[in-house]
Subunit: 223 residues, 2 copies
Amino acid sequence: MARQERAVRTRRAVVEAAASVFAERGYAAATIAEILERAGVTKGALYFHFDSKEALARGVIEEQTTRDHRVPREPKLQEWVDTGMSLAHQIPRDVILQAGIRLSGDLQGRALFGSAWPAWIERSTALLAEARERGEVLPHVEPAQTAECFFGAWLGTQAFSEASSRWSDLSERVCVLYAHMLPAIATPAALVRLDTGPDRGARVVREAEAERARRAAPVTAEV
Amino acid sequence: MARQERAVRTRRAVVEAAASVFAERGYAAATIAEILERAGVTKGALYFHFDSKEALARGVIEEQTTRDHRVPREPKLQEWVDTGMSLAHQIPRDVILQAGIRLSGDLQGRALFGSAWPAWIERSTALLAEARERGEVLPHVEPAQTAECFFGAWLGTQAFSEASSRWSDLSERVCVLYAHMLPAIATPAALVRLDTGPDRGARVVREAEAERARRAAPVTAEV
């Protein structure tokens, strides 16, 4: 294995181990000793990538928005819906997202290592602004306000689902949330075109993964 | 002071002190020693009312739904809106509600001392069911589902507001949340009759307090 590839794998193992410890215990109770044990790497290897617990938390937060399966869509509002639905599908399966939720909501800790909230709200605002330019949203909708409102609602839906089913009903609950908010956001013409079924997230993730695999496969037909 | 009145005051002081410690530190980090110190009562007095930290947390949780300023309304949907708006107004001012939020959302702790969530959802479901009987809600609305959906959204809005402004923008944010959800819940005829202004919560609380004061005042006109 090339040295660089090994470094990438080590970093990955450390971020995943850190995420699993943060997700389980929260930032304050997490220890580097436990992260080391779960990662199965040497202390030197961990400190090569992250020089403190704080840096590990920052590393996990930075990973958050890279977990998003973006597939460009028309209407743009479908892409906005897809972000929330694919995240809902992934959270029960992805410890990095679980850790990001816990860390981002840690009001003491976030002063040290930041929060993924602003990045999600920014992405959501941008998609709603594009949707507005295309006439897909109702005239009174202000993208930044709606993005923050939806984000707060999504966050609480996620917390409620964690408490009631360890996220196993999250896709269902997020689908109900969209049904309760979209009539105040989408024009009737855009609304009827939107797919907000509870399995939407799973389908978007599958599609994005197939697309990624297609791109990674060796190209033979091109010169 | 009569013995019973003194006992009520002591209990009140203990619950308030416990709430302030739980709200600040969370359940796990709270100590009875600190609660005693803040309450300014003897250990014996505290243990007369609550025999453990768990019992104190349970006492704070039980207080939650008694903080609600209920004023019967027509349309019933206004009463439903008023519950969420008056809570939003009170949270920045009421440490017992702040503690209830923190305790109810403590996924480890709630196994010991319970959560106020089910009581709020039950109240919300009952109001939505009454509103449905009166034809104020759209035909597809299922009270229990809408109550849970709104509760999750309200919870996240509250968490977002705590993080961004220590709840000082909560009334504003809850007002935006209602604006984004009511069009999927209320019939157009009921919707136009609803008051969802950001100062609605403050007005409801004032009105309920005036009503309570009126009832507590000595009655002279009656025989």
